[in-house]
Symmetry: C2
Subunit: 299 residues, 2 copies
Amino acid sequence: MYTLDQVRCFIAVAEELHFGRAAERLHMTQPPLSRQIQRLEREIEFKVFERTSSGVSLTPAGTSFLVESYRLLDRVDTAPRKAKLIAEGRIGLIRIGYTAVSGYNVLGHLLTCIRKHLPDVQVELTEQVTSSQIESLQNHSIDLGLARPPFDGEGIISQPIYTDNMAVVIPKGHPLGQHRDNVSLDEISKYPMVMFSPKDAEYFHDLLTRELGISAKQGKFQVTDAATIVGLVAQDHGIAIVPSSTKVLGRSDVEYLNIPALADIAVELHAIWHTDSSNPVLQHIPEIMSDFSTQSLDD
Amino acid sequence: MYTLDQVRCFIAVAEELHFGRAAERLHMTQPPLSRQIQRLEREIEFKVFERTSSGVSLTPAGTSFLVESYRLLDRVDTAPRKAKLIAEGRIGLIRIGYTAVSGYNVLGHLLTCIRKHLPDVQVELTEQVTSSQIESLQNHSIDLGLARPPFDGEGIISQPIYTDNMAVVIPKGHPLGQHRDNVSLDEISKYPMVMFSPKDAEYFHDLLTRELGISAKQGKFQVTDAATIVGLVAQDHGIAIVPSSTKVLGRSDVEYLNIPALADIAVELHAIWHTDSSNPVLQHIPEIMSDFSTQSLDD
DNA sequence: ATTACTTACGTATGACGTAACGATT
DNA sequence: AATCGTTACGTCATACGTAAGTAAT
Protein backbone atom coordinates (compact mmCIF):
# COMPACT_ATOMS: atom_id res chain seq x y z
CA MET A 1 0.00 0.00 0.00
CA TYR A 2 1.20 3.49 -0.74
CA THR A 3 2.02 6.06 1.91
CA LEU A 4 0.92 9.61 2.56
CA ASP A 5 4.49 10.75 2.03
CA GLN A 6 4.33 9.35 -1.47
CA VAL A 7 1.11 11.24 -2.06
CA ARG A 8 2.70 14.46 -0.85
CA CYS A 9 5.65 13.88 -3.14
CA PHE A 10 3.29 13.20 -6.00
CA ILE A 11 1.35 16.39 -5.43
CA ALA A 12 4.52 18.46 -5.30
CA VAL A 13 5.80 17.04 -8.57
CA ALA A 14 2.36 17.29 -10.17
CA GLU A 15 2.16 20.94 -9.24
CA GLU A 16 5.67 21.84 -10.27
CA LEU A 17 5.88 19.42 -13.18
CA HIS A 18 9.58 19.38 -12.36
CA PHE A 19 11.31 16.92 -10.06
CA GLY A 20 14.06 19.36 -9.12
CA ARG A 21 11.80 22.18 -8.03
CA ALA A 22 9.42 19.75 -6.32
CA ALA A 23 12.32 18.24 -4.37
CA GLU A 24 13.40 21.70 -3.31
CA ARG A 25 9.89 22.48 -2.13
CA LEU A 26 9.88 19.25 -0.15
CA HIS A 27 13.31 20.03 1.34
CA MET A 28 14.90 16.98 -0.17
CA THR A 29 17.02 16.05 -3.18
CA GLN A 30 15.78 14.70 -6.50
CA PRO A 31 16.86 11.06 -6.23
CA PRO A 32 14.75 10.06 -3.22
CA LEU A 33 11.82 12.02 -4.64
CA SER A 34 12.18 10.15 -7.89
CA ARG A 35 12.19 6.87 -5.98
CA GLN A 36 9.11 7.84 -3.98
CA ILE A 37 7.20 8.47 -7.18
CA GLN A 38 8.41 5.21 -8.66
CA ARG A 39 7.33 3.38 -5.58
CA LEU A 40 3.94 5.06 -5.63
CA GLU A 41 3.48 4.07 -9.25
CA ARG A 42 4.41 0.50 -8.40
CA GLU A 43 1.91 0.43 -5.54
CA ILE A 44 -1.06 1.92 -7.36
CA GLU A 45 -0.12 0.02 -10.51
CA PHE A 46 -0.22 2.85 -12.99
CA LYS A 47 2.12 5.60 -14.09
CA VAL A 48 1.16 9.04 -12.87
CA PHE A 49 3.76 10.91 -14.92
CA GLU A 50 4.83 10.88 -18.51
CA ARG A 51 8.56 11.49 -18.56
CA THR A 52 9.16 12.87 -22.02
CA SER A 53 12.20 14.56 -23.46
CA SER A 54 10.60 17.95 -22.99
CA GLY A 55 9.78 17.45 -19.34
CA VAL A 56 7.32 15.86 -16.98
CA SER A 57 3.60 15.74 -17.55
CA LEU A 58 0.68 14.04 -15.83
CA THR A 59 -0.85 10.99 -17.42
CA PRO A 60 -4.67 10.95 -17.66
CA ALA A 61 -4.81 8.61 -14.67
CA GLY A 62 -2.31 10.82 -12.88
CA THR A 63 -4.50 13.84 -13.47
CA SER A 64 -7.42 12.03 -11.88
CA PHE A 65 -5.26 10.74 -9.08
CA LEU A 66 -4.15 14.27 -8.33
CA VAL A 67 -7.64 15.39 -7.47
CA GLU A 68 -8.16 12.24 -5.41
CA SER A 69 -4.89 12.99 -3.64
CA TYR A 70 -6.00 16.47 -2.71
CA ARG A 71 -9.16 15.07 -1.21
CA LEU A 72 -7.24 12.38 0.59
CA LEU A 73 -4.81 14.79 2.21
CA ASP A 74 -7.65 17.08 3.05
CA ARG A 75 -9.32 14.26 4.93
CA VAL A 76 -6.06 13.37 6.65
CA ASP A 77 -5.85 16.93 7.79
CA THR A 78 -9.42 17.34 8.93
CA ALA A 79 -9.99 13.88 10.45
CA PRO A 80 -8.30 14.54 13.81
CA ARG A 81 -9.75 18.01 14.16
CA LYS A 82 -13.19 16.75 13.30
CA ALA A 83 -12.81 13.89 15.77
CA LYS A 84 -11.82 16.36 18.44
CA LEU A 85 -14.77 18.62 17.69
CA ILE A 86 -17.15 15.68 17.78
CA ALA A 87 -15.65 14.52 21.07
CA GLU A 88 -16.03 18.02 22.45
CA GLY A 89 -19.63 18.01 21.32
CA ARG A 90 -19.11 21.06 19.13
CA ILE A 91 -20.32 19.31 16.00
CA GLY A 92 -22.77 16.47 15.84
CA LEU A 93 -26.42 15.87 16.51
CA ILE A 94 -28.64 16.26 19.53
CA ARG A 95 -32.03 14.57 19.47
CA ILE A 96 -34.53 16.31 21.67
CA GLY A 97 -37.91 15.06 22.83
CA TYR A 98 -40.33 17.70 24.07
CA THR A 99 -43.87 17.79 25.37
CA ALA A 100 -46.41 19.58 23.26
CA VAL A 101 -46.84 22.42 25.76
CA SER A 102 -43.11 23.02 26.03
CA GLY A 103 -43.09 23.41 22.28
CA TYR A 104 -45.30 26.50 22.59
CA ASN A 105 -42.74 28.48 24.45
CA VAL A 106 -39.68 26.94 26.07
CA LEU A 107 -38.45 24.88 23.16
CA GLY A 108 -37.89 27.85 20.89
CA HIS A 109 -35.79 29.63 23.50
CA LEU A 110 -33.83 26.50 24.22
CA LEU A 111 -33.06 26.09 20.53
CA THR A 112 -31.89 29.70 20.41
CA CYS A 113 -29.47 28.96 23.25
CA ILE A 114 -28.25 25.79 21.58
CA ARG A 115 -27.73 27.61 18.30
CA LYS A 116 -25.78 30.28 20.12
CA HIS A 117 -23.48 27.93 22.02
CA LEU A 118 -23.24 25.16 19.45
CA PRO A 119 -23.85 26.63 16.03
CA ASP A 120 -22.64 23.51 14.23
CA VAL A 121 -24.71 20.97 16.12
CA GLN A 122 -27.73 19.62 14.33
CA VAL A 123 -30.93 19.29 16.30
CA GLU A 124 -33.58 16.65 15.76
CA LEU A 125 -36.94 17.22 17.42
CA THR A 126 -39.65 14.76 18.39
CA GLU A 127 -42.82 15.59 20.28
CA GLN A 128 -43.26 13.02 23.04
CA VAL A 129 -45.08 12.79 26.35
CA THR A 130 -42.90 12.50 29.44
CA SER A 131 -43.15 8.72 29.84
CA SER A 132 -42.22 8.21 26.22
CA GLN A 133 -39.25 10.56 26.58
CA ILE A 134 -37.92 8.53 29.50
CA GLU A 135 -38.22 5.37 27.47
CA SER A 136 -36.44 7.04 24.55
CA LEU A 137 -33.65 8.26 26.81
CA GLN A 138 -33.14 4.72 28.04
CA ASN A 139 -33.23 3.42 24.47
CA HIS A 140 -30.74 6.11 23.61
CA SER A 141 -33.05 7.16 20.80
CA ILE A 142 -33.12 10.72 22.14
CA ASP A 143 -30.41 12.63 24.00
CA LEU A 144 -32.39 15.26 25.86
CA GLY A 145 -35.98 15.67 26.97
CA LEU A 146 -38.21 18.53 28.02
CA ALA A 147 -40.67 16.92 30.40
CA ARG A 148 -42.69 17.15 33.59
CA PRO A 149 -41.88 15.26 36.81
CA PRO A 150 -41.86 12.67 38.18
CA PHE A 151 -38.94 10.94 36.47
CA ASP A 152 -38.72 7.47 37.86
CA GLY A 153 -36.54 5.89 35.18
CA GLU A 154 -33.14 4.42 35.94
CA GLY A 155 -30.25 6.84 35.35
CA ILE A 156 -32.39 9.84 34.45
CA ILE A 157 -31.01 13.21 35.46
CA SER A 158 -33.31 16.20 35.58
CA GLN A 159 -32.92 19.89 36.00
CA PRO A 160 -35.75 22.44 36.18
CA ILE A 161 -35.69 24.70 33.20
CA TYR A 162 -38.91 26.69 33.30
CA THR A 163 -41.73 27.37 35.73
CA ASP A 164 -45.15 28.07 34.36
CA ASN A 165 -48.41 28.64 36.18
CA MET A 166 -51.89 27.40 35.59
CA ALA A 167 -54.85 29.37 34.42
CA VAL A 168 -58.53 28.72 33.88
CA VAL A 169 -59.53 28.71 30.27
CA ILE A 170 -63.15 29.36 29.37
CA PRO A 171 -64.97 29.88 26.09
CA LYS A 172 -65.51 33.48 25.11
CA GLY A 173 -68.76 34.73 26.61
CA HIS A 174 -68.83 32.12 29.36
CA PRO A 175 -70.54 33.37 32.57
CA LEU A 176 -67.28 33.01 34.56
CA GLY A 177 -65.77 35.66 32.34
CA GLN A 178 -67.84 38.30 34.09
CA HIS A 179 -66.01 37.96 37.39
CA ARG A 180 -62.63 38.22 35.68
CA ASP A 181 -59.69 36.86 37.66
CA ASN A 182 -61.52 36.65 40.92
CA VAL A 183 -63.16 33.27 40.84
CA SER A 184 -62.90 30.60 43.52
CA LEU A 185 -62.23 26.95 42.91
CA ASP A 186 -65.68 26.12 44.23
CA GLU A 187 -67.17 28.28 41.56
CA ILE A 188 -65.25 26.46 38.92
CA SER A 189 -66.30 23.10 40.25
CA LYS A 190 -69.85 23.84 39.19
CA TYR A 191 -68.96 23.60 35.52
CA PRO A 192 -68.07 20.54 33.51
CA MET A 193 -64.35 20.37 32.80
CA VAL A 194 -62.09 19.04 30.11
CA MET A 195 -59.42 17.14 32.01
CA PHE A 196 -55.88 16.00 31.32
CA SER A 197 -55.40 12.30 30.73
CA PRO A 198 -54.15 10.47 33.86
CA LYS A 199 -51.89 8.34 31.72
CA ASP A 200 -50.19 10.51 29.14
CA ALA A 201 -50.52 13.79 31.04
CA GLU A 202 -49.96 12.41 34.51
CA TYR A 203 -48.33 15.55 35.80
CA PHE A 204 -51.22 17.87 35.05
CA HIS A 205 -53.85 15.31 35.92
CA ASP A 206 -52.34 14.71 39.36
CA LEU A 207 -51.88 18.41 39.91
CA LEU A 208 -55.57 19.07 39.35
CA THR A 209 -56.83 16.11 41.34
CA ARG A 210 -54.34 16.07 44.21
CA GLU A 211 -53.27 19.67 44.66
CA LEU A 212 -56.51 21.32 43.73
CA GLY A 213 -58.89 18.59 44.77
CA ILE A 214 -60.74 18.60 41.50
CA SER A 215 -62.55 15.36 40.95
CA ALA A 216 -61.60 13.38 37.89
CA LYS A 217 -65.29 12.72 37.40
CA GLN A 218 -65.85 16.37 36.69
CA GLY A 219 -64.11 15.83 33.38
CA LYS A 220 -66.27 14.66 30.54
CA PHE A 221 -63.18 14.24 28.40
CA GLN A 222 -59.67 13.13 29.25
CA VAL A 223 -57.19 14.59 26.87
CA THR A 224 -53.41 14.37 26.54
CA ASP A 225 -52.70 17.46 24.58
CA ALA A 226 -53.25 20.93 26.05
CA ALA A 227 -53.92 22.45 22.63
CA THR A 228 -56.75 19.98 22.11
CA ILE A 229 -58.13 20.85 25.55
CA VAL A 230 -58.20 24.52 24.69
CA GLY A 231 -59.87 23.64 21.40
CA LEU A 232 -62.57 21.65 23.17
CA VAL A 233 -63.09 24.52 25.59
CA ALA A 234 -63.53 26.89 22.66
CA GLN A 235 -66.16 24.58 21.25
CA ASP A 236 -68.08 24.71 24.52
CA HIS A 237 -67.33 21.24 25.81
CA GLY A 238 -66.43 22.58 29.22
CA ILE A 239 -63.85 24.73 30.95
CA ALA A 240 -60.33 23.68 31.86
CA ILE A 241 -57.26 24.44 33.91
CA VAL A 242 -54.20 24.52 31.68
CA PRO A 243 -50.67 25.95 31.69
CA SER A 244 -50.57 29.66 30.98
CA SER A 245 -48.19 29.11 28.13
CA THR A 246 -51.07 27.78 26.05
CA LYS A 247 -51.92 31.46 25.65
CA VAL A 248 -49.39 31.57 22.86
CA LEU A 249 -51.78 29.41 20.85
CA GLY A 250 -53.43 32.77 20.26
CA ARG A 251 -57.01 31.58 20.12
CA SER A 252 -59.48 34.45 20.19
CA ASP A 253 -62.41 32.19 20.99
CA VAL A 254 -61.30 31.56 24.58
CA GLU A 255 -60.47 33.64 27.64
CA TYR A 256 -58.00 33.03 30.45
CA LEU A 257 -58.65 33.71 34.13
CA ASN A 258 -55.72 34.09 36.52
CA ILE A 259 -57.65 33.16 39.66
CA PRO A 260 -56.16 33.47 43.16
CA ALA A 261 -56.40 29.76 43.94
CA LEU A 262 -53.91 29.02 41.17
CA ALA A 263 -51.50 31.84 41.94
CA ASP A 264 -49.15 29.68 43.98
CA ILE A 265 -49.30 26.60 41.82
CA ALA A 266 -46.05 26.34 39.93
CA VAL A 267 -45.78 23.80 37.16
CA GLU A 268 -42.29 22.80 36.35
CA LEU A 269 -40.70 21.81 33.11
CA HIS A 270 -37.42 19.94 33.40
CA ALA A 271 -34.64 19.18 31.05
CA ILE A 272 -33.87 15.48 31.43
CA TRP A 273 -31.11 13.27 30.10
CA HIS A 274 -29.51 9.95 30.78
CA THR A 275 -26.36 9.43 32.84
CA ASP A 276 -24.71 7.12 30.41
CA SER A 277 -25.56 8.83 27.16
CA SER A 278 -22.54 8.70 24.91
CA ASN A 279 -23.49 11.83 23.01
CA PRO A 280 -20.69 14.34 23.64
CA VAL A 281 -23.01 17.24 22.85
CA LEU A 282 -24.56 16.73 26.30
CA GLN A 283 -21.37 18.05 27.88
CA HIS A 284 -22.59 21.51 27.03
CA ILE A 285 -25.97 21.16 28.74
CA PRO A 286 -24.81 22.96 31.93
CA GLU A 287 -23.58 26.05 30.12
CA ILE A 288 -26.62 26.11 27.85
CA MET A 289 -28.97 25.75 30.82
CA SER A 290 -27.31 28.49 32.78
CA ASP A 291 -27.48 30.76 29.76
CA PHE A 292 -31.09 29.77 29.30
CA SER A 293 -32.00 30.69 32.85
CA THR A 294 -30.67 34.23 32.44
CA GLN A 295 -33.06 34.86 29.60
CA SER A 296 -36.56 36.14 30.07
CA LEU A 297 -39.17 33.85 28.62
CA ASP A 298 -42.11 36.19 28.98
CA ASP A 299 -43.83 37.15 25.82
CA MET B 1 1.91 14.22 10.57
CA TYR B 2 0.56 10.77 11.31
CA THR B 3 0.91 7.84 8.93
CA LEU B 4 -1.54 5.39 7.44
CA ASP B 5 0.22 2.58 9.26
CA GLN B 6 -0.60 4.28 12.51
CA VAL B 7 -4.21 4.53 11.45
CA ARG B 8 -4.29 0.83 10.62
CA CYS B 9 -2.78 0.01 13.99
CA PHE B 10 -5.32 2.24 15.66
CA ILE B 11 -8.23 0.55 13.91
CA ALA B 12 -6.96 -2.89 14.87
CA VAL B 13 -6.64 -1.98 18.53
CA ALA B 14 -9.95 -0.13 18.50
CA GLU B 15 -11.68 -3.17 17.08
CA GLU B 16 -10.02 -5.67 19.38
CA LEU B 17 -9.79 -3.36 22.40
CA HIS B 18 -6.73 -5.43 23.22
CA PHE B 19 -3.16 -4.63 22.19
CA GLY B 20 -2.08 -8.26 22.19
CA ARG B 21 -4.80 -9.54 19.89
CA ALA B 22 -4.51 -6.47 17.69
CA ALA B 23 -0.77 -7.04 17.34
CA GLU B 24 -1.40 -10.64 16.41
CA ARG B 25 -3.88 -9.56 13.76
CA LEU B 26 -1.31 -7.13 12.38
CA HIS B 27 1.39 -9.82 12.39
CA MET B 28 3.55 -7.94 14.81
CA THR B 29 4.34 -7.89 18.52
CA GLN B 30 2.77 -5.66 21.15
CA PRO B 31 5.64 -3.23 21.80
CA PRO B 32 5.90 -1.67 18.34
CA LEU B 33 2.10 -1.55 18.16
CA SER B 34 2.01 0.25 21.47
CA ARG B 35 4.59 2.71 20.18
CA GLN B 36 2.66 3.30 16.97
CA ILE B 37 -0.42 4.24 18.97
CA GLN B 38 1.62 6.49 21.23
CA ARG B 39 3.09 8.20 18.25
CA LEU B 40 -0.32 8.63 16.65
CA GLU B 41 -1.62 10.16 19.85
CA ARG B 42 1.33 12.53 19.92
CA GLU B 43 0.74 13.56 16.32
CA ILE B 44 -2.99 14.17 16.52
CA GLU B 45 -2.59 15.65 19.98
CA PHE B 46 -5.23 13.68 21.81
CA LYS B 47 -5.46 10.27 23.42
CA VAL B 48 -7.49 7.77 21.48
CA PHE B 49 -7.46 5.07 24.16
CA GLU B 50 -8.18 5.01 27.84
CA ARG B 51 -5.79 2.50 29.39
CA THR B 52 -7.54 1.48 32.56
CA SER B 53 -6.80 -1.37 34.88
CA SER B 54 -9.60 -3.39 33.38
CA GLY B 55 -8.41 -3.01 29.84
CA VAL B 56 -8.39 -0.68 26.88
CA SER B 57 -11.30 1.49 25.83
CA LEU B 58 -11.80 4.25 23.29
CA THR B 59 -11.91 7.82 24.47
CA PRO B 60 -14.78 9.94 23.10
CA ALA B 61 -12.37 11.57 20.67
CA GLY B 62 -11.00 8.12 19.82
CA THR B 63 -14.48 6.90 19.03
CA SER B 64 -14.96 9.77 16.62
CA PHE B 65 -11.52 9.32 15.17
CA LEU B 66 -12.31 5.68 14.51
CA VAL B 67 -15.11 6.51 12.12
CA GLU B 68 -12.93 9.14 10.47
CA SER B 69 -10.21 6.53 10.14
CA TYR B 70 -12.50 4.11 8.37
CA ARG B 71 -13.45 6.79 5.90
CA LEU B 72 -9.84 7.75 5.44
CA LEU B 73 -8.68 4.23 4.68
CA ASP B 74 -11.66 3.75 2.43
CA ARG B 75 -10.57 6.75 0.42
CA VAL B 76 -6.98 5.52 0.36
CA ASP B 77 -8.28 2.29 -1.07
CA THR B 78 -10.64 3.73 -3.64
CA ALA B 79 -8.57 6.72 -4.78
CA PRO B 80 -6.30 4.84 -7.19
CA ARG B 81 -9.09 2.70 -8.56
CA LYS B 82 -11.28 5.71 -9.04
CA ALA B 83 -8.44 7.56 -10.75
CA LYS B 84 -7.94 4.63 -13.08
CA LEU B 85 -11.65 4.46 -13.90
CA ILE B 86 -11.75 8.18 -14.59
CA ALA B 87 -8.69 7.91 -16.79
CA GLU B 88 -10.27 5.03 -18.65
CA GLY B 89 -13.38 7.12 -19.11
CA ARG B 90 -15.56 4.60 -17.31
CA ILE B 91 -16.80 7.11 -14.78
CA GLY B 92 -17.15 10.81 -15.30
CA LEU B 93 -19.22 13.20 -17.36
CA ILE B 94 -19.83 13.66 -21.04
CA ARG B 95 -21.45 16.88 -22.18
CA ILE B 96 -23.34 16.48 -25.41
CA GLY B 97 -24.66 19.17 -27.72
CA TYR B 98 -27.37 18.11 -30.17
CA THR B 99 -29.51 19.73 -32.82
CA ALA B 100 -33.20 19.89 -32.16
CA VAL B 101 -34.04 17.41 -34.94
CA SER B 102 -31.48 14.88 -33.71
CA GLY B 103 -33.23 15.04 -30.37
CA TYR B 104 -36.38 13.60 -31.95
CA ASN B 105 -34.80 10.34 -32.80
CA VAL B 106 -31.04 9.77 -32.82
CA LEU B 107 -30.21 11.23 -29.43
CA GLY B 108 -32.33 8.75 -27.53
CA HIS B 109 -30.67 5.80 -29.22
CA LEU B 110 -27.24 7.26 -28.68
CA LEU B 111 -27.97 7.68 -24.99
CA THR B 112 -29.10 4.06 -24.84
CA CYS B 113 -25.76 3.00 -26.31
CA ILE B 114 -23.82 5.22 -23.90
CA ARG B 115 -25.76 3.87 -20.95
CA LYS B 116 -25.02 0.35 -22.12
CA HIS B 117 -21.28 0.83 -22.58
CA LEU B 118 -20.66 3.36 -19.82
CA PRO B 119 -23.32 2.90 -17.17
CA ASP B 120 -21.49 5.09 -14.67
CA VAL B 121 -20.87 8.06 -16.90
CA GLN B 122 -23.11 11.04 -16.38
CA VAL B 123 -24.49 12.78 -19.45
CA GLU B 124 -25.24 16.46 -19.72
CA LEU B 125 -27.34 17.57 -22.68
CA THR B 126 -27.61 20.95 -24.39
CA GLU B 127 -29.61 21.69 -27.51
CA GLN B 128 -27.43 23.71 -29.89
CA VAL B 129 -27.29 24.41 -33.59
CA THR B 130 -24.25 23.09 -35.43
CA SER B 131 -22.25 26.32 -35.45
CA SER B 132 -22.77 26.73 -31.74
CA GLN B 133 -21.70 23.14 -31.11
CA ILE B 134 -18.44 23.73 -32.94
CA GLU B 135 -17.79 26.79 -30.87
CA SER B 136 -18.57 24.86 -27.68
CA LEU B 137 -16.24 22.05 -28.70
CA GLN B 138 -13.45 24.56 -29.17
CA ASN B 139 -14.29 26.17 -25.83
CA HIS B 140 -14.27 22.70 -24.35
CA SER B 141 -17.67 23.43 -22.91
CA ILE B 142 -19.10 20.33 -24.58
CA ASP B 143 -17.36 17.05 -25.39
CA LEU B 144 -19.48 15.67 -28.20
CA GLY B 145 -21.89 17.09 -30.72
CA LEU B 146 -24.63 15.77 -32.95
CA ALA B 147 -24.61 18.10 -35.90
CA ARG B 148 -24.91 18.56 -39.65
CA PRO B 149 -22.00 19.28 -41.99
CA PRO B 150 -20.01 21.26 -42.90
CA PHE B 151 -17.63 21.37 -39.95
CA ASP B 152 -15.02 23.97 -40.68
CA GLY B 153 -13.68 24.46 -37.17
CA GLU B 154 -10.08 23.76 -36.25
CA GLY B 155 -9.48 20.29 -34.81
CA ILE B 156 -13.03 19.05 -35.27
CA ILE B 157 -13.42 15.36 -36.03
CA SER B 158 -16.67 14.08 -37.45
CA GLN B 159 -18.19 10.73 -38.13
CA PRO B 160 -21.58 10.10 -39.78
CA ILE B 161 -24.00 8.56 -37.36
CA TYR B 162 -27.39 8.61 -38.99
CA THR B 163 -28.84 9.22 -42.43
CA ASP B 164 -32.31 10.64 -42.68
CA ASN B 165 -34.30 11.65 -45.72
CA MET B 166 -36.45 14.61 -46.48
CA ALA B 167 -40.20 14.68 -46.90
CA VAL B 168 -42.77 17.26 -47.85
CA VAL B 169 -44.97 18.27 -44.98
CA ILE B 170 -48.38 19.76 -45.75
CA PRO B 171 -51.33 20.76 -43.62
CA LYS B 172 -54.07 18.16 -43.36
CA GLY B 173 -56.54 18.61 -46.20
CA HIS B 174 -54.06 20.47 -48.42
CA PRO B 175 -54.70 19.90 -52.19
CA LEU B 176 -51.29 18.22 -52.59
CA GLY B 177 -52.46 15.49 -50.26
CA GLN B 178 -54.71 14.13 -53.01
CA HIS B 179 -51.83 12.98 -55.21
CA ARG B 180 -50.16 11.23 -52.31
CA ASP B 181 -46.46 10.56 -52.72
CA ASN B 182 -46.38 11.24 -56.41
CA VAL B 183 -45.82 14.94 -56.60
CA SER B 184 -43.10 16.70 -58.58
CA LEU B 185 -40.91 19.48 -57.34
CA ASP B 186 -42.48 21.82 -59.85
CA GLU B 187 -45.84 21.13 -58.33
CA ILE B 188 -44.49 22.01 -54.90
CA SER B 189 -42.95 25.23 -56.15
CA LYS B 190 -46.40 26.60 -56.76
CA TYR B 191 -47.09 26.82 -53.05
CA PRO B 192 -45.60 29.18 -50.50
CA MET B 193 -43.05 27.48 -48.28
CA VAL B 194 -41.77 27.75 -44.76
CA MET B 195 -37.97 27.69 -45.14
CA PHE B 196 -35.02 26.86 -42.91
CA SER B 197 -32.92 29.77 -41.76
CA PRO B 198 -29.76 30.22 -43.85
CA LYS B 199 -27.81 31.09 -40.74
CA ASP B 200 -28.76 28.70 -37.96
CA ALA B 201 -29.99 25.88 -40.19
CA GLU B 202 -27.43 26.30 -42.92
CA TYR B 203 -27.36 22.62 -43.78
CA PHE B 204 -31.05 22.31 -44.57
CA HIS B 205 -31.26 25.73 -46.16
CA ASP B 206 -28.43 24.98 -48.55
CA LEU B 207 -29.86 21.56 -49.32
CA LEU B 208 -33.16 23.03 -50.42
CA THR B 209 -31.71 25.91 -52.37
CA ARG B 210 -28.67 24.23 -53.94
CA GLU B 211 -29.63 20.59 -54.35
CA LEU B 212 -33.32 21.04 -55.03
CA GLY B 213 -33.19 24.46 -56.62
CA ILE B 214 -35.87 25.87 -54.43
CA SER B 215 -35.71 29.64 -54.32
CA ALA B 216 -35.19 31.18 -50.94
CA LYS B 217 -37.78 33.75 -51.94
CA GLN B 218 -40.42 31.08 -51.94
CA GLY B 219 -40.19 31.06 -48.17
CA LYS B 220 -42.33 33.55 -46.38
CA PHE B 221 -40.69 32.56 -43.08
CA GLN B 222 -37.16 31.54 -42.28
CA VAL B 223 -37.07 29.31 -39.27
CA THR B 224 -34.28 27.54 -37.37
CA ASP B 225 -36.20 24.83 -35.68
CA ALA B 226 -37.88 22.02 -37.62
CA ALA B 227 -40.59 21.59 -34.99
CA THR B 228 -41.57 25.22 -35.43
CA ILE B 229 -41.65 24.76 -39.18
CA VAL B 230 -44.03 21.83 -38.88
CA GLY B 231 -46.13 23.90 -36.50
CA LEU B 232 -46.36 26.76 -38.98
CA VAL B 233 -47.29 24.31 -41.74
CA ALA B 234 -50.05 22.95 -39.54
CA GLN B 235 -51.36 26.46 -39.10
CA ASP B 236 -51.52 26.93 -42.88
CA HIS B 237 -48.58 29.27 -43.31
CA GLY B 238 -47.23 27.19 -46.18
CA ILE B 239 -45.77 23.80 -46.92
CA ALA B 240 -42.23 22.70 -46.14
CA ILE B 241 -39.54 20.15 -46.81
CA VAL B 242 -38.22 18.78 -43.56
CA PRO B 243 -36.35 15.72 -42.27
CA SER B 244 -38.58 12.63 -42.03
CA SER B 245 -37.66 12.22 -38.39
CA THR B 246 -39.91 15.14 -37.56
CA LYS B 247 -42.71 12.58 -37.99
CA VAL B 248 -42.03 11.53 -34.43
CA LEU B 249 -43.44 14.87 -33.35
CA GLY B 250 -46.71 13.01 -33.88
CA ARG B 251 -48.80 15.90 -35.10
CA SER B 252 -52.11 14.82 -36.52
CA ASP B 253 -52.74 18.16 -38.20
CA VAL B 254 -50.11 17.61 -40.90
CA GLU B 255 -49.39 14.99 -43.58
CA TYR B 256 -46.08 13.83 -45.02
CA LEU B 257 -45.44 13.11 -48.70
CA ASN B 258 -42.51 10.91 -49.70
CA ILE B 259 -42.17 12.28 -53.20
CA PRO B 260 -39.79 10.77 -55.80
CA ALA B 261 -37.66 13.90 -56.15
CA LEU B 262 -36.56 13.58 -52.53
CA ALA B 263 -35.96 9.83 -52.59
CA ASP B 264 -32.24 10.12 -53.21
CA ILE B 265 -31.57 13.06 -50.93
CA ALA B 266 -29.80 11.83 -47.86
CA VAL B 267 -29.35 14.17 -44.94
CA GLU B 268 -26.55 13.26 -42.67
CA LEU B 269 -26.16 13.67 -38.98
CA HIS B 270 -22.60 13.45 -37.64
CA ALA B 271 -21.11 12.89 -34.28
CA ILE B 272 -18.41 15.53 -33.84
CA TRP B 273 -15.73 16.08 -31.25
CA HIS B 274 -12.46 17.89 -30.78
CA THR B 275 -9.02 16.37 -31.25
CA ASP B 276 -7.56 17.75 -28.08
CA SER B 277 -10.42 17.20 -25.72
CA SER B 278 -9.05 16.00 -22.43
CA ASN B 279 -12.20 14.13 -21.48
CA PRO B 280 -11.25 10.46 -21.19
CA VAL B 281 -14.84 9.39 -21.80
CA LEU B 282 -14.28 10.19 -25.49
CA GLN B 283 -11.99 7.16 -25.76
CA HIS B 284 -15.10 5.05 -25.95
CA ILE B 285 -16.70 6.93 -28.84
CA PRO B 286 -15.51 4.40 -31.46
CA GLU B 287 -17.01 1.40 -29.71
CA ILE B 288 -20.21 3.27 -28.92
CA MET B 289 -20.53 4.43 -32.52
CA SER B 290 -19.97 0.99 -33.94
CA ASP B 291 -22.57 -0.43 -31.59
CA PHE B 292 -24.89 2.41 -32.54
CA SER B 293 -24.57 1.66 -36.24
CA THR B 294 -25.67 -1.94 -35.76
CA GLN B 295 -28.95 -0.84 -34.26
CA SER B 296 -32.03 -0.09 -36.30
CA LEU B 297 -33.35 3.39 -35.76
CA ASP B 298 -36.64 2.98 -37.61
CA ASP B 299 -39.70 3.47 -35.58
C1' DA C 1 1.19 -15.35 40.03
C1' DT C 2 -0.77 -13.86 35.94
C1' DT C 3 -2.22 -10.73 32.51
C1' DA C 4 -1.42 -6.78 29.78
C1' DC C 5 0.62 -2.55 28.43
C1' DT C 6 5.05 0.16 28.38
C1' DT C 7 10.06 1.07 28.37
C1' DA C 8 14.90 -0.38 27.06
C1' DC C 9 18.00 -2.06 23.83
C1' DG C 10 20.08 -4.28 19.83
C1' DT C 11 19.23 -5.32 14.92
C1' DA C 12 17.67 -4.65 10.31
C1' DT C 13 14.98 -2.53 6.85
C1' DG C 14 14.58 1.33 4.11
C1' DA C 15 14.84 6.44 3.11
C1' DC C 16 17.99 9.97 2.56
C1' DG C 17 22.04 12.35 0.32
C1' DT C 18 26.18 12.32 -2.63
C1' DA C 19 28.00 10.78 -6.73
C1' DA C 20 27.86 8.81 -11.11
C1' DC C 21 25.09 7.86 -15.20
C1' DG C 22 21.97 8.33 -19.33
C1' DA C 23 19.20 10.80 -22.33
C1' DT C 24 17.68 14.90 -24.56
C1' DT C 25 18.21 19.77 -26.55
C1' DA D 1 27.75 21.60 -22.87
C1' DA D 2 23.84 21.81 -20.06
C1' DT D 3 19.62 20.22 -18.10
C1' DC D 4 16.97 16.80 -15.88
C1' DG D 5 15.56 12.41 -14.40
C1' DT D 6 17.39 7.77 -12.89
C1' DT D 7 20.60 4.36 -10.90
C1' DA D 8 24.43 3.15 -7.46
C1' DC D 9 26.16 3.25 -3.05
C1' DG D 10 27.23 4.52 1.66
C1' DT D 11 25.06 6.47 5.89
C1' DC D 12 21.67 7.35 9.14
C1' DA D 13 16.97 7.21 10.99
C1' DT D 14 13.19 4.62 12.05
C1' DA D 15 10.48 0.44 13.14
C1' DC D 16 10.83 -4.01 14.39
C1' DG D 17 11.55 -7.91 17.89
C1' DT D 18 13.39 -9.64 22.30
C1' DA D 19 13.78 -8.84 26.98
C1' DA D 20 12.93 -6.46 31.06
C1' DG D 21 9.76 -3.42 33.68
C1' DT D 22 5.41 -1.85 35.80
C1' DA D 23 0.76 -1.97 37.27
C1' DA D 24 -3.47 -4.19 38.40
C1' DT D 25 -6.33 -8.40 39.49
